[in-house]
């Protein structure tokens, strides 16, 4: 390249880098221009995401289904016997039924907590190019949703509303590394902070150094002032590993969340809630299990051997 061309390249590079740094500085200083541009993008993206979500949802779980191929081989063979039309109708119906079941469960949880909720469908997930863990739902400010509102699924807390447009909202998930929520242990009422780790596990740090955490402890949201961002009493998760070593300054634990964040179809945003925690903990209702009672058949009475018979020494 000629020297003049090289200089032009360098000048162009410097101008573009300075422009990028200028944008970063503006954003960090809270200039609304850059924030507004993302809001406009979300407004443009929303109808596309909604349409694509409807068409694309059966394909989205393709890789997950492939992982379970061996387990469901017999079911797949049986399914192949049905005709194509029936299969497509069945897929549509099962999708609707699944969403309905999730909606019923989440409304049940909201009803038990006397929450006023807005139900919404998940239409997109956070981009792979950013490390944040978010979902986009198809309800926004026109449904009464505002930033910093609690979002629940049928099993409990899943996140908090990060931003809204008139028809969509972005929800920051519980698993996001920047996510933190005040929780209390149902057993001891000790208060702690639960943080997302970017995976399916969460970290709990107890605020009271003398408190103890036990495996199996149930965690509920502690609530925030004015119920924003968190309403009290929502089930969050269960402790699966506690570190109560005397040497550590704080008691920490590993937690599994009640909500499965990889399987979110329908969620609810809590619009308003009672200021006090629900009188009964809103623990997720377990799936009904079939209990089989076995009555032992009468067995022939065996005469006790002398060594087995109780004897009383005199």
């Amino acid at each position: 390249m000629a020297r003049g061309g090289g200089n032009r390249s360098r000048l162009l590079l410097v101008i573009l880098l300075v422009t990028a740094l200028f944008f970063v500085t503006l954003d960090l200083r809270g200039v609304s221009l850059t924030k507004g541009s993302r809001s406009v993008t979300q407004t443009i993206l929303a109808p596309v995401q909604r349409t694509v979500s409807t068409i694309f949802s059966p394909v989205g779980r393709f890789f997950g289904d492939v992982k379970n191929f061996g387990k469901t081989n017999a079911e797949l063979k049986q399914a192949l016997a049905t005709n194509k039309l029936l299969k497509s109708k069945l897929a549509e119906n099962s999708d609707t039924k699944g969403q309905l079941a999730q909606l019923k469960s989440v409304l049940d949880l909201a009803g038990r907590g006397n929450y006023k909720v807005a139900a919404a469908r998940v239409i997109a997930r956070g981009s792979a190019s950013s490390f944040s863990q978010t979902i986009t739902i198809d309800a926004g400010s026109s449904s009464g949703i505002r930033s910093n509102m609690t979002v629940i699924s049928q099993n409990g807390l899943i996140g908090v509303v990060k931003s809204t447009t008139s028809s969509t909202s972005i929800v920051l998930l519980l698993s996001d590394p920047s996510f933190k929520v005040g929780v209390r242990i149902a057993r001891s009422q000790s208060v702690g902070v639960l943080s997302g780790l970017g995976s399916t596990e969460y970290s709990l740090v107890l605020l009271d150094p003398s408190g103890t955490i036990q495996t199996g402890d149930i965690l509920l949201t502690n609530g925030s002032e004015g119920n924003k961002p968190f309403v009290p009493g929502v089930p969050v998760g269960v402790v699966v590993g506690a570190d109560n070593s005397a040497a550590s300054l704080t008691q920490t634990a590993t937690v599994n969340s009640y909500a499965n964040l990889n399987d979110l179809g329908v969620v609810s945003v809590i619009l308003s809630a009672p200021t006090t925690a629900p009188s009964k903990p809103l623990l997720p209702t377990p799936n009904p299990t079939v209990t089989v009672y076995v009555t032992p058949a009468p067995s022939p009475v065996l005469s006790p051997t002398p060594s087995a018979s109780p004897t009383k020494k005199k």
Partner: protein, 172 residues
Amino acid sequence: MSPVRIIYTLGFFFILFVLQESAISLIHFPIAGFSLYLALAISLIAFEDHNGAIVSGFLAGIVLDLSPTSNAPFGQWALILTSIAFLFAVNRDSIADVTTSPITFVIVVAGGVTLALISYLSFGALLGEENGSLGHDATVLAGNLLWTIIFTPMFLPALRRAHEYSLTARER
């Protein structure tokens, strides 16, 4: 890079961005996700000449900065992708034209995507962003690397043809 091509490139990145945000992000990939946007952006940067690569990098970054799900400040991706585009432009002259060998091209694109993500994490760490544990970040990087290696050969011929078509007679 002519103004017409700047508009074409911007349009291409925006369509790609919509595709990434509304369709690709819905797929539950095993081992983290796949950023088609980054893979295609880095591929396009590799096809371009000096100035074209730098401008394409900047445009790709600005469009990616529009992502409403991103926690990063606006301009962070523009800064990173412009820098990476410059690296590509400089090394294109010094090593060789990577676009002539498909295998080398795939490796370079996968390396570029990984470098972009590492830069994003490093810059984010400097700004105090929380991007998760080391293990989680490593999984995301490994996942993106794997899927980029798998998917890049699939779109490479189409991208090459589209790029050649977009060139003006003078640029050819």
